[in-house]
């Protein structure tokens, strides 16, 4: 019995969208309500789809940072909205447009294909000995280890012994533990722009990876490789270094964003490997990828396992000045012990500047007060140790050693054909070993500026220009992680130590000032890549109090109180151009199937489902057909209550009104409806604007202009009466209590106004499109631009393509929609025939001033 009842119910539900039985007003009313509900949902889906497309187009053009979760979620959301439109159109016109479902599916498959990631070949080795690696192995070994292999095996320099756990092993680790779906889910479900969410997400993702099982074949390959490096495991310890795809390019160095583990015993290689892989999701690495527009799924992590070098001295060498591309000296930063003290950027070090000459010459020497160094812990890891007193002011590098390292650096520059950034160590027996070599990121040359005239005395001067430029903001001092969470957008970050982990804040930071550090630290590298001005090693910063507004001039190495406009203007010109990121490239690829609009002419023969080539085409088709279908329902159904009425008003044009429900104050019988009977506030607002200012009549046209109108009228078949669709001959309002759609044709002008002004501001919108005219194409286009400019000034989002102007406003409360409708109503009446005078600048200016004044007066009223 229950089953029978259910089947009956399912049958009914299946037929709910069918036609009304003739002569059954109750059924017609219900059907009308169902269709009206479908139309309302279709319009809401249309608004959402268009908003999503606009957001995607903005993101593709640069300006704000996006990751692949943005691309995937926007593609999905726009696909869902378009599907809903097709389904609601099917409710409005059952079975008439079913082929749209197929078109949508085809486009969806194409987009999915564009979004697919190339798989890593399953037969790639899990581990590669470093002796077999060179720059051809970037995909398997990652750029950092591929470069190091090249340095050793092609250039022939000394590097530590070791092996690489490849990207294929990473892929196997992720697949075997089925981690990717959970990673994707976590990434999408968190808003990574919010710092507290970013930290929580990072912790979840890192735990997920740390708790994964390393597949047996990877563990076996690591053991075997380790056994080849040293016959007895006790002989050596390892440095584990990340070598992720996308890392170590001049545009994206990822300096210090991933974990390096030093002095790891061979029996701990497996868990240390997991730890380095998990560091793909440190807050700073995730933030860095987001800032640089790198795809999460493109960052496969390989890990270099290198023999740990017990360094007497260590440091970095640049074959150029990172802050000035024109300066080709070699910059050597050096300290006692492991180079970690330099790249962490927190301790005093020596800086030697070496001129390119035969042989290279030391031209400047700044010997730091080196009190702390990093040394190997006897058990595992590294520890901070005090530097013996007599070494504090002694150079950590002899002149011969410095020149030797400079020569190695120049050889590498010559080999890689680009300035390089290398990390080196000198062993306890005086041998130089290269630990890392990557392209040097350099900023454009910036001249040292004199202090600006009339500027207040600086609060701070000195330090190094670690990333050039100037910026203003309020000071936010950061010492602990909890300070980072409260860092406001656009703050000037003031630090004691420029630790790599503060890189997670750089995307929201105007500038950085730190008491310690130099140009060689990781934070300095990331600041240069992101174009954030930075002064490091500035000494005590007590004058920089929390909340104080300052202007940081990194180029001039000074911090001024307040906002110094002259510095900011110069800095704007120095800012690097936006980089085209992989995520933006992926977004643009999918946008080709989403955003272009090909279905332009609803009366054209190509206006059909088969011609929809993009999701935008489908939305356009659904929207147009839905409006036609709902109108057809009102006129075709024998049900006078809902049939259209002619507006009884003292105007020369014919206006017809179709009420979808709630648009009339009470049921209206007969053929006519009066304005007093209209309850639809958006319609009344539009009408107010249309009649607020009497029209002066058409502008005076010169003889040439009139000839052109005659030509247009004969050459354009769409303008000739026999080709017009019946519904296009009149002006139609489709209304409900909060909704209006006006389709009108004033002579040669085609207009569509649509607005929803209900109680949900998030769903409210006003869209306006205007096309046509009788003058030549140039003047019609000029008129479209004229209208577009007026609307843009009124904060509409405007798009002008040839003679078509479309404009939208969204997210307004209903009073604001109604006010905007008054302006649109005014423009509808007063821009008619203006195309004819668009080649007469004086007349154009006259009309522009008059309209601006009229619109202001409309707003006041």
């Amino acid at each position: 019995m229950i089953t029978r009842g259910l089947r009956w119910l399912q049958g009914i539900v299946g037929r709910l969208t069918g036609r009304a039985e003739p002569g059954d007003p109750e059924a017609a009313r219900e059907l009308f309500q169902t269709r009206y509900h479908a139309l309302r949902l279709l319009l809401a889906a249309n608004t959402k789809a268009l908003d999503l497309m606009a957001a995607m187009e903005r993101a593709a053009g640069g300006g704000f940072t996006i990751g692949m979760p943005f691309v995937r979620s926007h593609c999905t959301a726009v696909g869902v909205s378009v599907y809903q439109m097709v389904r609601h159109l099917d409710t409005l016109a059952p079975d008439r447009y079913t082929s749209l479902f197929e078109r949508l599916e085809d486009i969806q498959h194409t987009i999915d294909h564009e979004l697919a990631t190339l798989p890593v070949p399953s037969d790639a080795p899990l581990v590669l000995p470093l002796t077999e690696v060179d720059s051809h192995h970037i995909d398997a070994a990652g750029p950092k280890m591929a470069n190091l292999g090249e340095v050793a095996n092609v250039v022939g320099m000394s590097v530590p012994k070791g092996f690489v756990i490849t990207t294929a092993a990473h892929e196997r680790l992720i697949t075997a533990n089925d981690l990717q779906p959970e990673i994707d889910r976590l990434l999408q479900a968190h808003q990574t722009e919010e710092l507290d969410e970013l930290f929580a997400l990072s912790s979840n993702l890192q735990s997920l990876i740390m708790s994964a099982d390393v597949p047996r074949e990877i563990a076996a390959a690591i053991d075997a490789a380790s056994a080849r490096v040293a016959s007895s495991p006790a002989e050596i310890t390892y440095a584990l270094r990340s070598s992720a795809l996308g890392e170590d390019s001049a545009q994206a160095s990822f300096a210090g964003q991933y974990q390096s583990l030093l002095n790891v015993r061979s029996e701990h290689l497996i868990e240390s490997y997991l730890e380095v892989v998990a560091s793909k999701y440190t807050p700073q690495a995730m933030h860095y990828r987001l800032q640089r527009g790198l795809r999460d799924e493109d960052v496969a992590m390989s890990v270099g396992c290198l023999e740990m070098i017990d360094a007497r001295s260590g440091g970095v060498a640049y074959t150029g000045n990172p802050g000035d591309r024109e300066d080709r000296n070699i910059y050597l930063s050096s300290t006692w012990g492991l180079p970690k003290a330099i790249v962490d950027g927190r301790f005093a070090s020596d800086l030697l500047i070496v001129e390119r000459a035969e042989p290279p010459q030391i031209s400047d020497r700044q010997i730091g007060d080196k009190r702390t160094r990093f040394v190997l812990d006897p058990v595992e890891g590294v520890q901070r140790a005090e530097v013996p007193h007599d070494l504090h002011h002694r150079p950590s590098l002899s002149d011969e050693e410095a020149i030797g390292i400079a020569e190695l650096a120049l050889r590498l520059e010559s080999h890689f054909k680009t300035p390089v950034d290398l990390e080196w160590a000198i062993t306890t027996d005086g041998k130089v070993v290269i630990l890392q070599c990557r392209p040097l990121a350099q900023s454009s040359a910036v001249a040292r500026r004199p202090l600006p005239a009339g500027a207040p005395p600086p609060l701070v001067t000195g330090g190094v220009n670690a990333s050039p430029g100037a910026a203003t903001g309020s000071i936010h001092r950061v010492g602990r992680d909890s300070d980072a969470l409260t860092c406001p957008e656009g703050a000037v970050l003031v630090l004691e130590q420029p630790l790599p982990r503060w890189a997670a804040l750089l995307g929201r930071t105007a500038a950085v000032v730190a008491e310690e550090g130099g140009i060689a630290g990781h934070l300095a590298t990331v600041a240069r890549e992101l174009g954030v001005p930075a002064i490091l090693g500035a000494g005590l910063l007590d004058a920089l109090e929390d909340g104080l507004e300052v202007t940081v001039d990194a180029t001039g190495r000074a911090v001024y109180p307040g906002r110094i406009e002259s510095l900011l203007r110069i800095s704007d010109q120095e800012r690097p151009a936006a980089v085209d990121t992989p995520v933006q490239q992926a977004l643009r690829k999918v946008l080709r199937h989403i955003a272009p609009l090909n279905l332009l002419d609803p009366d054209g023969i190509e206006f059909k489902p088969a011609s929809c080539r993009t999701l935008h085409d489908i939305t356009r088709f659904c929207h147009e057909q839905a409006v036609r279908e709902i109108f057809a329902f009102g006129t075709e159904t024998e049900f006078p209550e809902y049939a259209s009425k002619q507006l009884h008003h003292n105007v020369p044009m014919q206006w017809w009104v179709l009420d979808l429900g709630g648009g009339f104050k009470q049921p209206v019988s007969g053929k006519y409806v009066r304005l007093e009977d209209i309850a639809c506030k958006p319609m009344l607002a539009l009408w107010d604007g249309m009649v607020a200012v009497p029209w002066d009549g058409p502008p005076a046209v010169t003889g040439r202009g009139f000839a052109s109108i005659l030509f247009e009228a004969t050459a354009n078949p769409a303008l000739a009466t026999p080709f017009r669709k019946p519904y296009a001959d009149r002006n139609y309002f489709i209304i409900s209590e909060h909704f209006i759609n006006l389709q009108s044709r004033f002579g040669f002008h085609f207009t569509n106004v649509e607005a929803l002004a209900g109680l949900r501001p998030e769903e409210n919108y006003l869209s306006f499109s205007f096309k046509g005219g009788a003058a030549d194409h140039e003047r019609k286009a000029a008129r479209a631009r004229f209208i577009g400019d007026l609307l843009a000034d009124l904060r509409f989002a405007v798009k002008v393509t040839e003679d078509v102007v479309t404009a939208r406003r969204t997210g307004l409360d209903h009073q604001d929609v109604e006010q905007s409708l008054r302006v649109v109503g005014y423009l509808l009446m007063h821009t008619r025939q203006l195309d004819m005078i668009m080649n007469e600048p004086t007349a154009v200016e006259h009309y522009r001033s008059k309209m601006v004044a009229d619109i202001q007066s409309l707003s006041r009223n």
Binding site: V13, L16, E30, G79, D112, A189, R760
Partner: protein
């Protein structure tokens, strides 16, 4: 009468937070974090709208949508997911889901969707009521 919503998701924190927020918006909220209690709640309570996680350890949300629409055709299902996938979303819609929303969910948008889904259900119920009355009248006339 308040709209009754069944929230099904294996993330307990998410369920607790969202249930609280929906209750504040005057919905009757039922919750489940596993498949069996979810179907039990659906049979035992007058549910209007189901909010269903697409991927749960013991439940495939898309299959579940199909099952719910087969056994409770008037109940509307809104799918929620952390997995953005065009293919899965369209499959869910084909199975009869009213909508497919991506986490993190905007609460205002979710409320509108629930109200819209409920309105659709009301329209269908009105139609069924009228058809049932008509059927009664026809049989009385015979």
């Amino acid at each position: 009468m308040a709209i009754s919503v069944l929230l099904v998701d294996d993330e307990e924190n998410f369920v607790a937070t969202l249930a609280k927020r929906l209750t504040l918006r005057r919905f009757d909220v039922f919750t489940a974090t596993r498949a069996d209690p979810a179907f039990a709640a659906l049979s035992e309570n007058p549910i209007d709208v189901v909010l269903l996680d697409v991927r749960m350890p013991d439940l495939d949300g898309i299959e579940a949508t199909k099952e719910i629409k087969a056994s409770h055709p008037l109940v509307e299902v809104i799918l929620l997911t952390g997995h953005a996938s065009m293919e899965a979303s369209l499959e869910g819609m084909r199975m009869g889901a009213f909508d497919y929303l991506l986490k993190p969910v905007n609460i205002d948008e979710l409320v509108y969707k629930i109200e819209d889904a409920h309105r659709k259900k009301e329209l269908q119920e009105e139609k069924i009521r009228r058809l049932a009355e008509k059927a009664d009248e026809d049989s009385n006339a015979e």
